[in-house]
């Protein structure tokens, strides 16, 4: 009977399980092993994969000392470009708290029984559905120095806009602006809206009776009640912020002007310079950072979120 049950279950599971083994489980194991190897997939067959120990990791996150002609010794990163890409990625993640606040405010605005709220919700949600290469090209056009709509609007108020995507100072903020447009009205806003609808009315009524104004209610009732949702959104944003961010710089700037993210760096190393082992090491260092941050967040949440 046991084996029969297993047989039937296997029939249902098999299609998904095979894919899971081939494209998730095998890759995870292989990627980890490969990160300790050296291999050029274009020049060599698979049999030429050669173990190199920790070399890729040393190359990636290690430092070496350098003595300049003056006799001063200093520590230099083995691969400054990796740290640069990590800096770029983290810099662009600074938008996360602002985006979350914007999502919350949109949700608060939408959370009322008035006509037309569904239409506004759809309008806010639309950018996140359509976000892709099409809208990236659209934003390239909007960011155009001479003819783009953003600089045209700025010109009305007498500001000469910069060449957004071709400037070390503005390229990152430009990509962040586009990501905010695509993100604030999306999933996070819907999650906040669902969270708001679960807050019992009595809490607000009680606060109002105690003389709490609108702002105080937002601060002392709404925000604390939404802490679990906020925490969830924060973790997801951190993960996708670190792991994602490939398409936009690839399409819009080619990674120049300080916009190379870690995932773009990884892609270049693996699929343009064909350093498969090294690129795998990048993936694991990144995963380790994500994993540690998520763990730290959970720990903090265990202390704060329960009330």
């Amino acid at each position: 009977m046991r084996s029969r049950a297993l047989g039937i279950a296997a029939l249902f599971l098999l299609p998904n399980l095979l894919g899971f083994l081939a494209f998730t489980l095998f890759p995870v194991v292989a990627s980890f092993a490969l990160s300790f190897c050296r291999w050029d997939p274009v020049a060599e067959p698979v049999s030429a994969i050669e173990p190199v120990g920790l070399l890729n990791y040393v190359d990636l996150v290690g430092f070496h000392s350098r003595t300049d002609p003056g006799g001063q010794t200093s520590w230099v990163a083995n691969t400054p470009r990796f740290w640069e890409s990590l800096y770029n990625t983290v810099f662009m993640m600074l938008a996360i708290p602002f985006n979350m606040a914007a999502s919350l405010l949109l949700a608060v605005l939408l959370n009322r029984k008035m006509r037309g709220m569904a239409i506004f919700r759809s309008a806010f949600f639309l950018p996140s559905i359509t976000a892709g290469v099409g809208t990236m090209l659209l934003w390239m056009w909007m960011f155009n120095k001479d003819m783009g709509s953003i600089n045209q609007v700025l010109a009305w108020v007498g500001i000469q806009g910069p060449d957004w995507l071709q400037s070390y100072f503005w390229a990152k903020p430009a990509l962040m602006l586009m990501a905010s447009w695509a993100g604030i009205g999306g999933v996070n806003m819907i999650l906040y809206l669902a969270g708001l609808q679960q807050i019992p009315r009595e809490l607000h009524e009680a606060a109002a009776l105690d003389g709490a104004g609108r702002w105080q209610q937002l601060r002392h009732v709404t925000v604390p009640m939404l802490l679990p949702v906020t925490f969830f959104i924060f973790i997801i944003s951190i993960i996708s912020g670190l792991e994602g961010g490939f398409d936009a710089p690839y399409v819009m700037t080619g990674g120049s002007f300080g916009t190379t993210t870690v995932s773009l760096y990884l892609y270049r190393q693996g699929f343009e310079f064909f350093r498969m082992g090294y690129a795998s090491a990048v993936a694991w260092v990144l995963f380790l950072i994500v994993f540690l941050l998520t763990m730290i967040n959970w720990r903090l949440a265990e202390k704060r979120v329960e009330y």
């Binding site: 046991r2 297993l6 039937i8 279950a9 249902f12 599971l13 299609p15 998904n16 899971f20 494209f23 998730t24 095998f26 890759p27 995870v28 292989a30 990627s31 698979v46 608060v108 605005l109 959370n111 009322r112 037309g116 506004f120 759809s122 309008a123 806010f124 949600f125 639309l126 950018p127 559905i129 359509t130 892709g132 290469v133 099409g134 809208t135 090209l137 659209l138 056009w141 909007m142 155009n144 003819m147 709509s149 609007v153 447009w181 819907i190 708001l196 807050i199 607000h204 109002a208 609108r214 969830f232 490939f246 080619g254 990884l266 693996g270 699929f271 993936a283 995963f287 994500v290 994993f291």
Partner: protein
């Protein structure tokens, strides 16, 4: 809630309209640019308006719109790169067809494989169920950056680089879809299942005649999320396809983008419209399932 405090509806509506307008403005800008010709863009007339020429021409002769107003679109669909290839034309229309094919195949594949697996996890008893399901859950945390290099190597060793299956297959198996549908299948009352079983219904019959029909909202939600995701997928097709006859719209559009020279913006915006408009239509048609999908998916947190 805040709504109960009397803030003038006029203020609220004003704010909402302003916000919605600024969220939607890029779409408007994309649409009007796609209808202009290259000279319009370089002219000095105000560019935030549809363009004097455009407006006047349409007022003069509404038929003009269908003759010449959509020039960019017809030019785009006729675009082909003249390369000798045994695999059919490499043109823009090919990108469109590829995109549709990828999106439908991936969506169908995801719905079939994940609903089957979800049914097993939710409704069948078998040894090792908990352990296997836990392994699935754990993979929700594994990012694509980790799996993509070995997946590529695997497909290369199979000789599948630059094939349709290389683009489609890795996206077909989704732990997320399995998890989401499992949550939904769990809510189907046991009694219905028992009644069917007494009537001699086999597990496959239970899946096909009971679990699936009762889960249409969840299936619709998964389908829409899968369709939208695979319609705009970029990184994976970029990795496994190097010949243009395999390109989808996202990849194909990048051919028109000049990184250092100014591209033909109206033409490019017509291309962006072709990629974006179907997503807008799908969203309008299936919005309520979208929201459903987000709620079901978020339970995992």
């Amino acid at each position: 809630m805040l709504s109960r405090i009397k803030s003038g509806p006029v203020v609220v509506y004003g704010l909402l309209v302003l916000l919605a307008a600024s969220m939607l403005f890029p779409f408007y800008w994309m649409a009007i640019t796609s209808l202009k010709d290259k000279a319009d863009v370089f002219s000095t007339e105000p560019k935030l308006l549809p363009g004097r020429q455009l407006a006047e021409r349409v007022v003069d002769d509404p038929r003009w719109f269908f003759h010449s107003g959509t020039d960019n679109y017809s030019q785009l669909l006729a675009w082909q790169r003249l390369v000798e290839s045994g695999r059919g034309p490499r043109g823009f229309s090919r990108f469109v067809l590829n995109t549709v094919f990828f999106a439908l195949a991936i969506t169908l594949g995801q719905v079939i494989t994940s609903s089957l697996a979800a049914f097993a996890f939710a409704r069948l008893r078998f040894p090792g169920r908990k352990q296997v399901f836990f392994a699935y859950l754990a993979t929700l945390m594994i990012p694509a950056t980790v799996t993509m290099i070995p997946s590529y190597i695997l497909l290369r060793e199979l000789g599948w680089v630059n094939t349709y299956q290389a683009v489609i297959l890795p996206s077909v198996f989704t732990a997320y879809g399995t998890f989401m549908l499992r949550q939904f299948f769990l809510t189907i009352p046991r009694e219905i299942e028992d009644a069917a079983r007494i009537d001699g219904c086999s597990p496959l019959g239970l899946y096909w005649r009971i679990a699936l029909p009762l889960s249409t909202p969840a299936l619709a939600a998964l389908s829409i999320v899968a369709f939208v995701g695979s319609w705009r997928t970029f990184m994976w097709p970029l990795i496994v396809s190097s010949t243009e006859d395999l390109f989808n719209l996202p990849l194909g559009l990048t051919l028109f983008r000049g990184m250092y020279t100014d591209p033909d913006w109206p033409l490019l915006m017509a291309g962006s419209m072709v990629m974006t408009l179907p997503l807008i239509l799908v969203f309008i048609a299936g919005q309520r399932y979208f929201v459903e999908g987000i709620r079901l998916g978020a339970v995992k947190g």
